[in-house]
């Protein structure tokens, strides 16, 4: 398991390759990558992600350990950035390796659902006209009831 909370950009290709290599008994590798989307008005200047140093790492480790306890997984990777990002920048990624595809997919979805609402990150969107904290969505909270 690797958890990284970082300001620097990450290289999806290099991370995916490195994660997938050397898992002979893992038939299935799933990756999810989150990318900063522009606003509907097309005027997003940047997104700033605040987090809670110390708690963030613990929360991500807990979520990843819970996934490993619930599914038959060979490995889990979570990378989440903080700081200022621009539209098109990658925010975060998770990867799961499992003997079977169902475990790899479900664990990746579980990681994402918990990351959204249970890891201490807060997004702020900055446009020419001002700055707004992104509101949590009911559907993200509701997604947890699936698990």
């Amino acid at each position: 398991m690797r958890i990284s909370v970082q300001e620097a950009a990450f290289d999806l290709g290099a991370e995916a390759s490195s994660f997938a290599s050397g898992h002979k008994d893992m038939g299935a590798i799933v990756t999810f990558t989150g990318v900063v989307r522009d606003l509907a008005r097309g005027d997003l200047d940047r997104m700033v992600i605040e987090h809670y140093p110390g708690m963030t790492e613990k929360a991500l480790e807990k979520i990843a350990s819970e996934a490993q306890a619930r599914w038959n997984l060979g490995d889990v990777l979570v990378i989440h950035r903080h700081g200022a990002l621009e539209p098109g920048d990658m925010i975060m990624m998770v990867a799961t390796a499992a003997p079977h595809r169902k475990d790899a997919f479900e664990a990746a979805e579980y990681l994402m659902d918990y990351l959204k609402s249970r890891a201490p990150f807060w997004k702020k969107e900055i446009t020419r006209d001002g700055a707004d904290w992104v509101a949590a969505k009911d559907e993200d909270e509701d997604a947890l009831s699936r698990w």
């Binding site: 605040e50 613990k58 929360a59 975060m92 807060w122 949590a136």
Partner: protein, 81 residues
Amino acid sequence: MDVLYFAWVRERIGVPKETVDTGAKTVAELVEELKAREERYAAAFADLSALRVAVDQELTDFDASLDGVREVAFFPPMTGG
């Protein structure tokens, strides 16, 4: 005890962190003490349903005990991912 604020809670209160001397036994009592201090706290804590709390870096609820606690953090619902 260290009290931390994040996102708009931090902006409304005006500091990211402060040390608070308190006899509060629960998070809810601490909130009442802070609200009584100054308007900026009263504004930040006006609607607790819009807030989340962590005690020693674990998510919990406003009934949580502060016995032996070193760090309390207040913030809006998280928006990671």
